[in-house]
Symmetry: C3
Subunit: 318 residues, 3 copies
């Protein structure tokens, strides 16, 4: 099957069958990373512009690796280097990039809605690599891929997302994806960091980690932005860690086969115990590995590829 849109703006726009198609395709591409020659010719001669108006190492690098493994030509533009500093509007900047005939614009931008604006003027495919606190769809997809690898399914799981839900696009995209696929999501954190109305996305709310983690299959810990201390959302790091960090004791309450996730970068000893991050239940590095495969799949499918052809494209069936 093919994706219905040629853009990937958010999980909100994806149907469950599209999510499954992306994950299946990603599994085909995952195999490429393990080869000696980590390259398939699927996007040879296509141009991808990576336009990051917010700094990012891991997402930008993951996209760039994915693009190169598909043999695409890549260009990186960061905000500091960009004409934005000369006062040009976002739309004029993008119209200019677009006039150079790229096939994809992968954009991170601090303002929700910036990507939607782009799709009105772009023939190229727009991929959202994070937009403020709104959506980060490829992160939710790589998280889903990681859960499905462990449990063989995305339905009937209990997933606890723990931490600063309010400022997290990762939480928002995950809640939507997981509820669409039939899992239960509990958003858990201090009352100041749970946004009003998060239930409307499908999440249950809890302010008590011990209760929330009871019988969980997945505990996804979010990064505690240290800046939140200054702005009064939490009283102190020590207090936050005591009340909300994922510790071995708290994880005891989850199911025996429960896994620990974190989108990174981690503050060890703040939101997560360092031993858990490195322990046998942690799938944190699997998330990173799967990120490359999911982004290859998204690029491949948005370029018009079909899930069924990905196996052939990668030669994974050999």
């Amino acid at each position: 099957m093919k994706l219905r849109s040629r853009h990937l703006l958010g999980i909100a726009e994806l149907e469950p069958d599209e999510i499954v198609a992306i994950l299946d395709t990603a599994e085909s591409f995952a195999e490429v990373g393990g080869r000696e020659i980590k390259k398939v010719p699927a996007l040879r001669g296509r141009t991808v512009i990576n336009f990051f108006v917010e700094p990012s190492t891991r997402t930008r690098t993951s996209f760039e690796v994915a693009e190169k493994r598909l043999s695409a030509d890549t260009l990186g533009i960061t905000a500091a280097a960009s004409s934005l500093v000369k006062g040009e509007t976002l739309l004029d900047t993008v119209r200019n990039l677009e006039a150079m005939s790229p096939d994809f614009i992968v954009m991170r931008h601090p303002e929700p809605g910036a990507h939607e604006l782009l799709t009105r003027i772009c023939r190229s495919s727009v991929i959202n690599a994070g937009d403020g606190g709104h959506e980060h769809p490829t992160q939710a997809l790589l998280d889903a891929m990681t859960m499905r690898q462990r449990f063989g399914r995305l339905s009937g799981l209990k997933v606890v997302i723990l931490g600063d839900i309010k400022h997290s696009r990762v939480a928002r995209s995950n809640i939507q994806l997981l509820t669409k696929m039939g899992s239960t999501v509990v958003a858990c954190g201090p009352p100041t960091l749970i946004p009003v109305g998060i239930e409307k996305l499908g999440a249950k709310v809890s302010y008590h980690p011990d209760a929330a983690i009871e019988d969980a299959d997945v505990v996804m810990v979010l990064r505690m932005q240290l800046e939140r201390m200054k702005t009064g959302y939490v009283p102190s790091l020590r207090e936050y860690a005591r009340l909300y960090a994922l510790t071995p004791e708290r994880l005891e309450r989850a199911r025996p086969e429960a896994i620990v996730m974190h989108p990174g970068p981690m503050n060890r000893g703040v939101e997560i115990d360092g031993g858990l991050a490195d322990g046998p239940r942690s799938v944190i590095l699997d998330q990173v590995t799967n990120g490359v495969a999911v982004r290859m799949a998204v690029l491949y499918l948005l370029a018009g590829g079909e899930r069924e052809d990905a196996v052939a494209a990668t030669g994974a069936g050999r």
Copy 2:
């Protein structure tokens, strides 16, 4: 035919037949940007160093896209990252780059004359991507390509360049190219922003936009650097806009088929009316698209390619 020099320092050094050869070759390459596989093998295994001592998004990106579409290997070096900050002289930096055997050095540098200095020590081809207020030859070539596409010729046109002529390498390169090709150029702006002696390059001078635009075929609006306000060249943005901005009323005085150009980035509502920039007479995005094709042509011809072979190289004749 081949170009006479293996460097492109400025329009000043080009003969009319060379300009025509570049534009013809660019038309062949323009077709590549519209394909699914936007790549020709013409410069496979050649190395291009993009050495930008001044910040630039659009020119740097346009060169990089052009180089990748020709299958060249590209490297980017910006001033901040460079050894220049450690006090090394420009010549020592370039001698070092040169010792790595690049085929091209594409350089933007704030000092006119820096490029000429390079040609004395470089076996590689030096391309001027902008040198202070002196020349920006690939910009004038892409502008010429855009005009020729609309009018079928570069002779007998009346081209008004409107704005800050004094600080504009774009104006200087365009005046030289267009007068060489038989067109008339009027440099129009406030007296403080028209440099003494610009007539020697072949331009007429006007301080009155309404009169200058009368019967024009092309109005090329220049960016108003907002810094000029502080240094007293113009009294205020509002005053500048009232007296010199291109507005629909002013454009009425031009020929019915007249086109509007701008090298970007634009200050909408300052030097140009936003509606005009987006309107049917605007060829501003064509300029950007043609920029990639012109730069492909320049790289191809400087590498020793011939205009006649470009059609074959691109397979455009298929």
Copy 3:
């Protein structure tokens, strides 16, 4: 033959036969830089992450050119752009890079020992591109290649390293390589800039350039970091230049066929006379050219290639 380790952390770990194998392989690759198509397919589909936690133009560029000439896919990550600024530990950052399955991590890092730490968690090959004041193995290898080209051997030479030995990883790697290969190294500079215990690496020590240079085959001049003035290591630039700079008079004392080296970037008129740097005895630009070849050789051999196959891989024997 193959290298014994899959990492290159320092000259300290290399045996003489490995040094010879790298230099022989580099000679095969040197030929590639002189061709029209400067590319061999040896590392096609391999991924190299260039992770520079300290700024560098020449080393970073040299590695990138080398990687592209081997057809590898390259990614650049600099400290400013990296998650390190968000407070992530070095090991977590590298674990994340590693999870994307690179084949090589080329790292420059201000702390000696950082690379060794990486080898404990990385399946990929780690290459030290400079670690504080400790080692810079590819620099010593390119220096050795340059000396061997001139003298046909690395044994029995007298090499004077002149300048700030204390802060120089270049000096430390060169002393180890040259003494392993049977040459004599004299470390010469002001007493404040000769570290205690440098003799243990195999160098003789001198505070008197005139005496040290007597009968030298090679004078390798080190960059005088201008910051050292402020911190009191040397009284003034003028004083330093008078006492320690390499001048034509001082070079007279060396052997008639002696060569002048400098790792760059140079301060002409401070540690080295500008005329000498450009003169017939200078091999400073040969060092840069050889840097690309040596890095190609190191990447090729660490990837499991054999010296004997490099000629075939490059087609150098054609």
